[in-house]
Symmetry: C2
Subunit: 241 residues, 2 copies
DNA sequence: TAGTGGTCTAGACCACAGT
DNA sequence: CTGTGGTCTAGACCACTAA
């Protein structure tokens, strides 16, 4: 690994997960880690900031870092797609396309994507064959045209778009609770009026241009989102219930 | 402000919010900011990392930082309590105690708090008089005894505990969706079986000892949680729907 | 009081963007 | 190419913890 601080973070993380530093234990000091990895103290600090943002350790001035817990869920950092996330959890991701249409944007879609014409995809997402989420995504036309040419049942759209040179840089997610509509219930094979976890997601490229605007609805019993925070850091994790 | 990087972050944040750098604009380079604030480049980088974690700007190697948005919800960083958050949103926080009992811990409570005897508080939280959340919190006995001695209707428990020397350091939150029980509906004055946003929250002190374990249920239409993330950062925000 | 983490500096080299 | 952000170093001082 060419980046030293990532290497240090990975080794300390591995040591924690291996039980060398169980929950409640204290990590070695920054100076000791710097000496033993042969890097400067600043590099160690960068590594440990990563671990703190993962909720793995906590920090207090004057005292050595405390191990909070072993990593149990896969991180949602780094803008993971559903497929990547599912595979990281040891599940088999799947998708069933319900509809893909090219049409005029609704007012919300127009505002979020800054365009009047969109492609709209409705897809049921499966975890090892079990339906857990409905994805209703609007794409601007230049992205939607690429999506329309894919096999959305078997491919990861995100991954395929990246291979085609589309770069996902930032996302904003808004989580709330909604009640399943009749269509939701039919697609997810659950009771009508069951509670669903709603995620609005707006993803942009490095220039800030919108790449997708999506409303995803997760089965309440199947998926949950976890957030760690401390005084200066916090992190979102998506996990199974 | 004695801490230089916070001062720089605050000034740049204010400039963005004032419209000096509208969404889509580029910030000055790190060197320019360092020169104009009379600090080293490292200090500017620390400030800008804060702004990136708030979802205010994005970063790309080789190019100046891009302003993502101006609209600001109040941050959920720094472990804001319901009362602090409400006030920051311009709303009047309130609480109505439904029950406060001292009893044996359930298996989950015992596991989360690492003790057999607890205090359990049920409270309806109000935003300017409107019920938006039910809080069902378990405290270990030494904390619960303090809570029992408070006026939980008018005081912020978190704030009062801090005044008494209890230090909140870390929290883990898990978000999901549930259906309102008959009691939930009665307390929140909503329809039975309405969807609620469920937040499990476990808060610990600087030594990693559990201070509270809570299940909070938010009215789906009233409150939402927002997360920003980019390749290396992400941030949770709690906001009104 | 000794050790630890938090902040800050000054300088260096590199990968990448925009031209 | 030049300028920018990403990484890294070596050293310094301070605030705080813990013994």
């Amino acid at each position: 690994m060419s980046i030293a601080y990532r290497q240090v973070a990975a080794e300390v993380r591995a040591a924690v997960e291996a039980g060398d530093y169980p929950p409640g234990a204290r990590l070695p000091s920054e100076s000791e880690l710097a000496r033993s990895y042969g890097v400067a103290r600043g590099t160690v600090r960068q590594a440990l900031a990563t671990l703190a943002s993962e909720g793995l350790v906590s920090t207090r001035r004057g005292a050595r870092r405390l191990v909070l817990a072993r990593q149990r869920l896969q991180g949602f950092n780094e803008l993971r797609s559903f497929s990547e996330w599912a595979r990281a959890m040891g599940e088999r991701p799947g998708g069933r396309v319900v509809a893909l249409v090219r049409r005029e944007a609704s007012p919300t879609e127009a505002e979020q994507l800054d365009t009047d014409r969109i492609y709209h995809l409705t897809r049921v997402r499966l975890l090892s064959g079990r339906p857990v989420m409905i994805e209703r995504t609007a794409y601007p036309e230049h992205i939607g045209a690429l999506v329309a040419s894919m096999n959305a049942e078997s491919e990861s759209i995100t991954q395929r778009l990246q291979e085609l040179g589309v770069v996902f840089a930032n996302a904003a997610h808004t989580l709330g609770a909604v009640v399943a509509t009749a269509e939701d219930a039919r697609l997810l094979d659950i009771r009508p009026r069951a509670p669903l976890l709603r995620e609005w997601r707006r993803t942009t490229d490095p220039d800030g241009a919108a790449l997708e605007w999506s409303e995803d609805r997760y089965v309440g019993e199947a998926v949950a989102f976890t957030v760690h925070n401390s005084v200066h850091q916090n992190t979102l994790i998506r996990g199974l219930t």
